[in-house]
């Protein structure tokens, strides 16, 4: 509830002189907070008046040592603030003496520093281990690939060995033609098992978009017996022939090797590199 101006003035006069108390003090504070500008001006005027009251005092000079004492205290205050902080820390940590808190703080900082260094060391070690794992994985992949190649090579050689161990095999020699005069080829053929091996050497390497293709010529008609690529022309290389199913040797008039588009073609289109006739 708002108070009238006279009551406000009474309370205001007492308030600025610090003579208001109890319920009236609270009532005035509330009224002041809600006061309109005209009422607030009363407060400002009374406060302005109260601020002049000290000027009625005859001035006295404080002793000179009072200033030096105060200056000395504020200089020490910086130190005591630090002491207070350590004292608070000591209380918080349950130490009886601030020195223990200081010691604890230093130990804590050292421990923290050690942990930070150890963390950095661990991170560095993990990074190095990651690098090693990457290298090892790459090596493993390479070894697995090599292992697969060796297993494939072994399987081929076992197949060749089976053909060679057969009691009845035919061998057809193929010689190099004009385009590859030093080229050489050999068909090792087991008609009973319908298995055959092609051995070649000294043929030029195959371009990426080409393959060598083996042909079985029956009469005048060439029939594809499979395609192969030559990766290392220096070595003699063996290839298993899966499509040589003709059991009758006499039905075959010749074997030939031509260079054809990658994957082979139904009928020969490229140049002939090797040619051989069954004996």
């Amino acid at each position: 509830m708002a108070i009238d101006n006279e009551r406000f003035e009474e309370q205001c006069a007492a308030y600025v002189l610090n003579a208001l108390e109890g319920e009236e003090f609270r009532e005035f504070k509330k009224a002041l907070a809600e006061a309109d500008p005209d009422v607030k001006r009363i407060y400002e005027e009374m406060q302005w008046t109260a601020l002049h009251l000290p000027l009625r005092i005859d001035l006295a000079t404080p002793p000179p040592e009072a200033k030096q004492k105060i200056l000395g205290l504020i200089r020490r205050r910086g130190v005591s603030i630090q002491e207070t902080l350590f004292a608070k820390l000591a209380t918080t940590l349950g130490f009886r003496r601030p020195q223990f808190a200081l010691g604890f703080s230093i130990a804590f900082v050292v421990l923290l520093g050690g942990l930070m260094y150890y963390t950095f060391f661990l991170r560095e070690m993990i990074y190095q281990r990651d690098q090693q794992i990457t290298v090892l994985r790459s090596e493993l992949s390479s070894q697995q690939k090599r292992f697969a190649e060796l297993r494939e090579d072994l399987a081929r050689k076992e197949e060749i060995l089976k053909v060679l161990q057969s009691p009845k095999i035919d061998v057809v020699i193929m010689n190099g033609l004009e385009i590859s005069p030093t080229g050489y080829g050999k068909i090792i053929w087991d008609p009973d098992r319908k298995a055959a091996i092609l051995q070649i050497s000294n043929l030029p390497p195959v371009p990426k978009d080409k393959d060598y293709q083996l042909w079985v010529i029956k009469g005048q008609k060439p029939v594809s017996a499979g395609v192969f690529s030559l990766t290392d022309p220096v070595k003699e290389t063996f290839f298993k022939i899966d499509q040589l199913v003709e059991p009758n040797k006499k039905a075959i008039s010749a074997f030939a090797v031509t260079l054809e588009p990658k994957g082979g073609v139904p009928q020969p289109t490229g140049k002939m590199y090797l040619l051989g006739k069954p004996s």
Binding site: H52, L55, P62
Partner: protein, 198 residues
């Protein structure tokens, strides 16, 4: 008598300079603190002495006040009041706390805070500005003499003695309403007198 203090304050620039001093004090500038002390030590000491009456007690309170200035300078808000009002309020409240604790006049009174709640910011509320200080002091003394003595007594015992209205009523054996009326009329009269001369 024109004291060193009065010479100092008459040469002083104004409230903005004090605001700068307090800002520097907040940054732990001892030179600024010394300057503020030189400007205000006599006035605050005189005010404190007029309340506590004893020189030793006055020195103790003066020390407390300036240590508080050193510690709380960063909380001083120039937009809410001037350094004069802040220091005077600090000094008076500390002095009154001192006599209350010594006299065992235990009271459960709520008091105003150490910081003045000024609504007239800037230098307008600063009695040390605008006029030569001793001239202004003479005007205040003269104005006080012009108001009825019973009103003046009530104002002075409240301000310099730290008495509440009910304590004044008890001390002078007066009805509380009479004390309130005298206090209100005294303040209004003093305001009118000061306003027309300052």
């Amino acid at each position: 008598m024109i004291s060193f203090f009065i010479l100092a304050v008459t040469r002083r620039s104004s409230a903005p300079e004090e605001a700068v001093l307090l800002k520097r004090i907040a940054q732990r500038d001892e030179k600024a603190f010394e300057r503020l002390y030189d400007l205000y030590a006599k006035l605050t000491y005189s005010l404190i002495l007029s309340v506590v009456k004893k020189q030793g007690d006055a020195e103790d309170v003066l020390q407390e006040v300036f240590l508080q200035v050193w510690e709380k300078a960063s909380t001083f808000d120039v937009s809410k009041g001037n350094a004069y009002a802040w220091l005077i309020t600090l000094a008076r409240n500390r002095a009154i706390d001192k006599i209350r604790s010594k006299d065992f006049r235990k009271q459960s009174r709520e008091t105003v805070a150490d910081e003045p709640e000024l609504s007239s910011p800037g230098s307008e509320g600063n009695p040390l500005d605008s006029l030569v200080v001793d001239e202004r002091a003479q005007i205040v003394k003269q104005a006080l003499r012009q108001i009825p003595v019973e009103q003046r007594e009530v104002l002075e015992i409240a301000y310099f003695g730290g008495y509440s209205q009910s304590e004044i009523a008890s001390k002078f054996n007066l009805p509380l309403g009479t004390v309130k009326t005298r206090m209100r009329q005294g303040m209004k009269k003093l305001y009118s007198l000061l306003k027309e001369r300052l």
